[in-house]
Assembly symmetry: C2
Homo-oligomer: 224 residues x 2
């Protein structure tokens, strides 16, 4: 069975990605991060999702993104925006280099595991304002990752899988529901409380709730 | 004054890089990592070096490389090799994805600072067995970094500076000595004790000691 490292945040998107990787026959090693995010309920959700979807292993690495600030998600002095996403702008919830750092950790674990496959739930539709959710960024990371590792030097070929990159939120929900993802276990809210209950007004809540509506699937999100 | 992020380990190479970046007129923001390495005396050395060479700021980010193991530097079950480097092999002291992870953090901090320059002391001569010390790897990271960030999207151009990449250890020591680097403040040993005293037999000690000899510079390293 081929091994894959799955970046698992505990949100809706990455839960769907894990289900897709399992469907594709991978033995899944899930990686979450404790990065000083406000929504730590995500980590409890990630653990639930990893178990429910049959991951082989789930690890949480602590990283210190808060040391740099610069984002509403890691800097307590910047408020989480609750008035919707503006067209063509990079949102305040963008965390500098977050995907690069997370993919780099996945790369390291993949090298130790002997895995050539990494899955990440980036999406270029809903997160068009995030530079590190674009296909050209992912291709560049893949190229760099192949030069960075022992496996790459020895001829193995790293692949970064982004099965959600061109799907709408509704399409993601429909696909995940077919694969048995229980979205009631996932937490997307940028400011969820300790029980994982969502605020309903941040960008992540808005996207998620609109996604369930467009998919015609009942929204299982617990709101506070 | 242009800002630069300098990856500063506390060893001989990165101290020289900091001195070179200062010579080139950069305001220097130094970044070190606490990554569960055995040689934590490096971090005390990094703080001394940053102050001595006029860094604007020095931060230490904690990262969890030990979570993956796979290296003699982060995995307590793998002994640090003391019998010399073998030609054409990737040494046991190679830490999977370490440079990628560290450069990714530098990328994040650079984005928050508005810096377009990152300095790293990789060396393709002494560390020819490390995939992530090769020029083609650095170029690929630079390309990826330009796609990963807000600055890159807005047209700024990231540059990863590797002033040591083709220098021998002796040439590094000669260059740094001219710039006033006090190598007695630096720690290179993979298994230095808490006072920073070197073992004298690990690969890093061997390279360093041979470098001073070849440079004709007295070796200021405290050995235990």
């Amino acid at each position: 069975m081929k091994k894959a490292v799955i970046l698992l945040s505990g949100g809706l998107d990455s839960a769907t990605v894990l289900a897709m990787a399992r469907r594709d026959g991978f033995e899944c090693y899930c990686l979450s991060f404790n990065y000083g995010q406000r929504h730590t309920a995500e980590l409890a959700a990630a653990a639930r999702v990893a178990t429910a979807l049959g991951a082989r292993e789930h690890r949480v690495a602590t990283i210190d993104l808060a040391a740099f600030g610069g984002s509403a998600l890691t800097d307590a002095s910047i408020a989480v925006p609750v008035d919707g996403v503006k067209e063509g702008e990079i949102p305040l919830t963008y965390v500098p280099a977050r995907n690069t750092i997370m993919l780099s950790f996945a790369l390291g674990w993949a090298e130790v595991l002997g895995a050539n496959d990494i899955f990440i739930g980036v999406n270029a539709v809903d997160y068009s304002g995030y530079p590190d959710c674009r296909p050209e960024y992912i291709s560049a990371f893949e190229m760099m990752g192949n030069l960075a590792t022992r496996a790459g030097v020895e001829g193995a070929s790293l692949r970064i899988h982004t099965p959600l990159i061109s799907l709408s939120k509704a399409e993601i929900i429909v696909a995940g529901s077919k694969l048995g993802v229980d979205y009631g276990q996932t937490v997307s809210c940028y400011q969820a409380d300790l029980q994982g209950r969502a605020c309903g007004v941040c960008d992540a809540c808005r996207l998620r709730s609109a996604g369930f509506a467009a998919a015609g699937v009942a929204d299982p999100t617990p709101y506070r």
